[in-house]
Structure formats: C-alpha cells, structure tokens
Amino acid sequence: MTFSPELEARFAKLLNSYPPGRQRSAVVPMLLYAQDEIGCVTQELVEEVAHRCGVTALQVDEVIGYYSMLHRKPLGKYHVQICTNIACQAVGAEDLWAHACKNLQLGNKEVSPDGLISLEEVECIGACAWAPAIQINYDFHHQVTPEKFDRLMQALADRTYSARPS
C-alpha cells in the first residue's frame, strides 16, 4: 500500500519516536492517520500496518474493536458527531440529537446514501463549557442550536462549509 508523501513522512517520524523494538506502539496512531486518508480500516490496511510495525495482523486487528474512532466501514465525507453527555444534555443536546436524526433522516452511525454525511452520537468530546457541542470530522462547533446545526448541514450540502473550529 502507498500513502500520500505527507502521511509517509508522518509514519516515518512515528516509527522513529518509540524505543528500539517497540514499534508496536505506532499501531493505533497509524491506523487512525491512515483511516483519515483512505476512509476506513480495510483488511489491506491492517496487513500493511502489521507489516510496518513488525507485528501480526491479528495484533492489529484486535485493537480496532476497542477504539471507537476506528471504523471498518467508510464514514460519510463529513462525519457529524453530536455529544449528548451530561454537560451537553443539560443544555439541550438530546433535542439536538433528535432534530439531527429527523432532519438528516439518519440514525446512529448511519451514512447518507450519497456518502456525504454520517451521523454519530458520541461521548464527551471536551467542549463541556461551550455546550452543546458537535464535531464535524475534527472541527469543533460550540453552542450549537438546532438553527445553527441546520445552517452547518446546509453548508455541507452546498459544499460551502469551511473547516474551522468555532
């Protein structure tokens, strides 16, 4: 498997950062960074990461189910993650979640038919004081009202969304 030059550089740096013989440490970061580039964790990726880290494919395989950010199936181009944990719940995240499911016609971990948007109910994402919070891919959006959410989704559909934390 070949990756973009930036990712290859990142991998080289990563493998170098652990003590000699401890390259297994790079398994989780490698899977996550590679998933961002190719969309999901494929069997081919599992074998590639195993080869590069000097472990068996099984040793790579076993961590995938553990980490909730690793996915075996492709997500949407924009992965919309809504936190409903207590701090967000207190200020209306459950209504926001219901609103999102209804408007996007998607359930938890479902992908829209055009592959543009996927939706996930997530646990605390570390934006409690600025709740309710969502993440679109890795961008934080704070104090998201249903109206603000609709504007964001419209921007995704119109391809006018710009990825900046707010």
Partner: protein, 435 residues
C-alpha cells in the same frame, strides 16, 4: 484562543498567557517567563526538585489528586533501565475541557513542565498522549515541539547541560478508559487499553516496563510557575495540602459557563453565583456534579464548601478533574443518572466482570425506570448493584460508574419515588380465558 470571557475573580498563574497575541508560539512564551524555570532546575538535584514540589503541595489534576512530589519520589533512579515522562492529555471525563485550552494556548508551558520531570529522573524520552478527537491540538503541540528543538530546549545537550531529551506526541483513538494511567500505557504500547494490575505502579514499572513519571497535562503546566516563584508561594495560593490554583470547567445551567482559573479552596457556591453569573433564567439550583461525571452529586444545600480535594472528600464526593456540572431545579435527575451510566457502560473496557456486567445492568434497569416501567424495589436494587461494584475492579472505572449512581439514588431518592407516581406502571397482560 479562549472560548469564554475571563472572570475578574480568576487568579491566573498558568492561564495568563492565553490572552496574549499568538499565545502558542515560542517567542510569546520566551517573552513571558518562558523556559526560565528549566534553567534554574538544571542546577538542582533531584532531591531538591522533589522537595520543592512537596513544599508546593501540588496535587495531580487528573482526578485522584495524588501529591505530585511524592509520585515523583517513587521513581527508582538506579535500575539501569531507561525512564520515561508521559503526559496524560486524554481528557475524556465528562464535564472537563481544560487540557484542551492548555495545549491550544500554551503548549510550551507543558513542554517545560515535562522537561523538569525529565531532568529530575534523567529521562531521555517523553510522550504527550493526546486523545484522538483533539487532532488540531496534535498539530499545535507538534509545532511547539519543533520550535523547542530549533531553540535548543529539546534534543541533544539541552542548554549545555549534557542531558538529552526527546519529546513526541502520541494519539489515542477514542477510549475514555485510556485516561486511566495503566490503560494509557497499554494503549501507548499499541494494545487495547485495558488496565494493569497494580502494584507495581507506573512509577516503578510503567511505559515499556520501565520507571515512568505520568501526570496530567494541567499538573505539568503548573510546574514551571512553581520553580520560578517557589513552592511556598504556590502552596500559599490554595488551602493546606491543596496548593495553587486549578482550572475549573463549569458547564450546565449557569449564565456564564466556561473554564476559570481559581485558587484551590474557592467556595463552590461562589463559583456558580459570582464567577459564572448564577443559575440561568433565574432558576434555583438543584444540584452540582463537582468533579466530572465520576463524582457523586451534591444537593444544593451541600454546595457551600471550599472547592479543593480534601473538602470535597469530606463531603463524600471528589474534586476529580475539575469538571463542575451545574443542574437547575427543572433537571430530571433520573435522566442524568441514566445518561451517566450509559456513558460508563459504553466505555467499560470489559476486562473486569463487575464493571462490564454491572454498568450494563445499571443501564438496563435505569432505562426501564426512565421509560416508566420501574417499581419500588428497583430503587434499592440500583443502589445495591452500584455498591457491589465498588472496589472490585482493576481500575477506577467501575468505581467511577458506581459512585455517582449510588449518589443520585441516595441524594435524590424522592425524585426516584416521584417517578413511580407519574409513570405508566407495568400492566400484566390480561389473563385469557381457557377455552
């Protein structure tokens, strides 16, 4: 950047650079007391460094509040093995959002804190474990690390001391459990993040089977100030045995939620009423979850206490990670208890049976209760089940799930009982006549 207006009541000693232009750059840091402490520390012996930390009464900001100086003193220095310095920035405790600000706005302060730890145990390698969701912070911290290498604060022969120290970032990939120190080490080694049997503690057998200093991001960030101004000055800011300040993350039903740096021992009610502008919409306070979702809830009448580790422990709860969730009079406590246990059921790693099964059963019972199909015996069943999980697991996640659940039932039993009155009770199916 800050995401909320600072309060005039704040005492900023680790967050004062947040408002400067371009706060994450090394030039801003160097112009504002940056890398002063490490120069001083390079002339100190490990014993002197640890003594200074003990004087400061700095306690771990990740949740347990263990004295940092004592933790460092447990690291053996003559094993012949390499040693490691690790920062826990896995910040996943619901209600907590402080490490994010520290890494976004002042990554060099964290790097300097880790350098001081590195010098103390003559370690040559450090890792900053950042949760996967904080991808933009990995870029910021990587940039800061590169700047520090360029200026000679990391790498070979740091400031002419003959000592080498390399620092790297490491990403998690979505697991609350990896905030527990031994699970974090497993994850760092490329495995599933399941906790290790303790002892041996990470200070003795930590990363890669070697002695390790492992502290929270905020703990490291406080260390440069301590060595610039002295441990005694730091201790004087707080209450006895609870030195310094801490970043308190206030969320929920308040007018001005946000992250505020307050001296240890600041009154909890004053945090709500004065720092955060009171409960929003003129409502009355019902309860406060004082230290992240793992801490047992406090009723409004119990909230007039100093916010520090010992005072909250005396109130049978904990200051934990500093996540204060404020709940107003309209809050449905059963719904909060259910959401809390759903979280722990989702995050339980499955290693210990009391936690794996207990969280799931609590989730099932509370879901049924919340739907309106509970009965009176369920209230005691929830409390009993929670109490049977306590102390019976490898790591604190089982306790973290059981304590708040038992707390909700104990403190708000009346609300659980009221739920029975308004709920559609279970109706047995009508008996059909035998024909």
């Amino acid at each position: 950047m800050r995401y909320n207006e600072p309060s005039p009541l704040e005492q900023m000693i680790i967050s004062y650079r947040f408002d400067l232009p371009n706060p994450a750059s090394i030039d801003t840091y160097l112009a504002n007391d940056g890398y002063v402490a490490i120069k001083k520390v390079l002339g100190m012996t490990p014993e002197a460094i640890i003594d200074e930390l003990k004087v400061s009464s700095l306690r771990g900001r990740g949740g347990a509040g263990f004295p940092t100086g004592m933790k460092w003193s447990f690291v053996p220095r003559n094993t012949g093995k390499p040693t490691y310095v690790i920062c826990n920035s896995d910040e996943s405790e619901p209600g907590t959002c402080k490490d994010r600000l520290l890494m976004e706005n002042d990554p060099h302060q964290l790097i300097e804190g880790m350098l001081i730890a590195g010098w103390t145990i003559k370690s040559n390698k450090g890792y900053i474990f950042i949760r996967g969701e904080y991808r933009y912070l990995i870029d910021i911290v990587d940039r800061a690390i590169a700047e520090a290498y360029q200026r000679g604060y990391l790498g070979k022969n740091i400031l002419g001391s003959g000592w080498d120290f390399d620092l790297y970032t490491h990403t998690g990939a979505g697991a609350y459990e990896c905030g527990e120190e031994s699970a974090l080490l497993e994850s760092l080694e490329g495995k599933r993040g399941i906790p290790r049997l303790k002892p041996p503690f990470p200070a003795v057998v930590g990363a890669f089977q070697s002695p390790t200093i492992l502290n929270n991001c905020e703990t490291y960030s406080a260390i440069p100030w301590i060595f610039r101004n002295g441990g005694a000055a730091y201790a004087a800011l707080g209450t006895p045995k609870n030195g310094g300040t801490r970043l308190v993350c206030v969320s929920g039903h308040v007018n001005k939620p946000g992250v505020y740096e307050l001296p240890m021992g600041f009154n909890l009610l004053r945090i709500v009423n004065e720092v955060c502008g009171g409960v929003r919409n003129g409502k009355k306070l019902k309860a406060i979850i004082p230290g992240g979702s793992s801490s047992p809830v406090l009723r409004a009448d119990e909230c007039d206490i100093p916010y520090d580790f010992d005072s909250l422990a005396k109130a049978k709860t904990m200051a934990g990670s500093g996540g204060v969730v404020v709940l107003d009079e309209d809050t449905d406590i059963v719904a909060v208890a259910l959401r809390t246990i759903k979280f722990y059921a989702h995050e339980s790693c499955g290693w210990c049976i009391p936690c794996r099964e207990g969280t799931n059963w609590l989730k099932k019972i509370l879901s049924r209760y919340h739907e309106g199909f509970g009965d009176e015996s369920d209230i005691d069943l929830i409390a009993e089940l929670a109490n049977n999980m306590l102390g019976r697991t490898f790591c604190a996640l089982g306790d973290a799930a059981a304590m708040p659940t038992a707390g909700f039932v104990a403190k708000f039993r009346n609300e659980f009982e009221d739920y029975l009155k308004k709920s559609p009770r279970f109706q047995p199916a009508p008996e059909l006549a035998v024909v």
